[in-house]
Symmetry: C2
Subunit: 295 residues, 2 copies
């Protein structure tokens, strides 16, 4: 265990307890809906978006209790997108976070509704967060809506990704798709942490650059792992990008070229952090951990 | 044209212009997603939720510009629920508002995303509404989330409805399902209008009773029309409740018994309005118009 490992475990525990309090218990009717939500939320993945939010907030002195609901909201939005992405009409994936996808376990109709209502619960979590001023809450809700919605957010990225399947896509198109599909919400995590912590405009700019680079780093390393890892290790179906004929970094740059790209993006993330006159060691360590998945 | 007809046309026009401004244009990428949203939003149905919101707000002296975004948000949430309800995994309906359902026109994947992002845009519309205080906006967002979510809102009602298919359901179970599936959002429309207008607690109570009765009146009359009307007139598939073996008022009470129930519920809606010391003529006329669909 390193300092980072301790931190990751701490945040994961804090987020899980927050999520548990925000989602109706599975013995409340409609129980099947709440079971489906909890099936997809717990046990969670790496909780990387909450980790980024907490770490960024703490750089600027935010208390953990002021970060908890927003972090949980972003994790709920992320989970809603996973549930809907896995549906037969979308990526048609049976495996998620190491077990049956929501629609395999509870049926398609319940999975659609579970995803829908996770989005609702996410916005409610921020609107109800009495630890923050109403002004801060509406700013956070707008940020979450923009980064998870359209035309620049996650759902827009999913639509562009759908439209890109089966045709040749350039590197710049891939980057636009990824920036929306996964980058936007990662960026929202960092930005909202900085907002709650009261960062200056200049600090927010540096954090935004860091977050964009970190999002890109995730995508490149995910693409590499999709090629190099087994399904069992990955916890989701491996090799599905190639099977779906999706544009990926290894497909365009090869494995070595992709590893070089990851290293370059990591460097740019660190450069952005160097501009911030606070202790950003944790954020640098997070980027390093992501990079280390493929080095 | 009556005074009510003029009012309905005016509100519909105001809501449509507001919605048009809140949804990305269909030439903005991802264009297909925005086309799908607009396909389902325009031309709209009766816009009954916005009408109720405007009429309630105006009872308490709210300016129309303070009501517009919240009304549009509720219409977006309603439309998202229609898009997802029509999906093959849910009600599997090909016809909506007199033309092809979203998934028939744009495919299932895009329809899922269009519904998802309409919810996002709805919360954004309220969070961004600078005509209201931040305090009012977070209260409205919580209200919308509670009434469209779970365990007491629309999505919970859809889940209960799914679970009720194909088995015998009591009248009290039907009422619980309908109160969540359609009543909650209608109630949200009335309550948010009253909140924005600055109604007192006692007035809010009376409005809540009115709204609950109005929601029930809609359900009873919808159930009757599903039996008595042709698909062409209805603009959606007729007879589908019976085909799906769904519990309905005519199924339980017969057509005459259902018409009697509608009349009784209408009376209770008017009784609630009588407790409010303001001009509630418009709200009474709206209830009368709903009743008149089946008398």
């Amino acid at each position: 265990m390193t300092l980072l490992d301790d931190y990751l475990a701490e945040v994961r525990d804090h987020v899980d307890r927050t999520l548990d309090g925000l989602v109706p218990r599975s013995d409340v009717e409609p129980a099947r809906l709440h079971e489906a939500i909890r099936w997809s939320l717990f046990p969670g993945g790496k909780r990387i978006r909450p980790v980024i939010l907490y770490a960024t907030g703490e750089v600027f002195g935010a208390a953990r209790e002021n970060l908890a609901n927003t972090a949980a909201a972003i994790e709920m939005i992320h989970t809603f997108s996973l549930i809907h992405d896995d549906l037969p009409a979308m990526d048609n994936d049976d495996l998620r976070r190491g077990r049956a996808a929501c629609h395999k376990q509870f049926g398609e109709a319940t999975a659609i509704l579970a995803g829908d209502v996770l989005q609702t619960l996410a916005f409610k979590a921020v609107a109800d967060d009495l630890s923050l001023s109403a002004e801060m809450r509406v700013l956070l809700i707008t940020l979450l809506a923009d980064t998870s919605g359209t035309p620049l957010g996650m759902v827009a990225g999913q639509q562009l990704d759908l439209q890109a399947e089966g045709r040749t896509v350039t590197l710049s198109e891939i980057e636009i798709i990824h920036a929306r599909k996964t980058g936007a919400l990662i960026s929202a995590a960092a930005t909202s942490g900085a907002m709650i912590g009261g960062a200056t405009i200049a600090q927010m700019d540096s954090i935004a650059t860091y977050a964009n680079m970190l999002g890109l780093l995730f995508q490149i390393t995910d693409d590499i792992l999709d090629v190099t890892q087994e399904t069992e290790t990955l916890g989701k179906t491996a090799g599905k990008d190639a099977a779906a004929n999706k544009a990926t970094y290894p497909g365009l740059l090869g494995l070595d070229g992709s590893r070089d790209a990851a290293l370059k993006v990591y460097g740019e993330a660190c450069d952005a952090l160097a501009e911030i006159d606070e202790n950003t060691g944790l954020l640098e360590a997070i980027a390093g951990r992501v990079l280390s998945r493929v080095q």
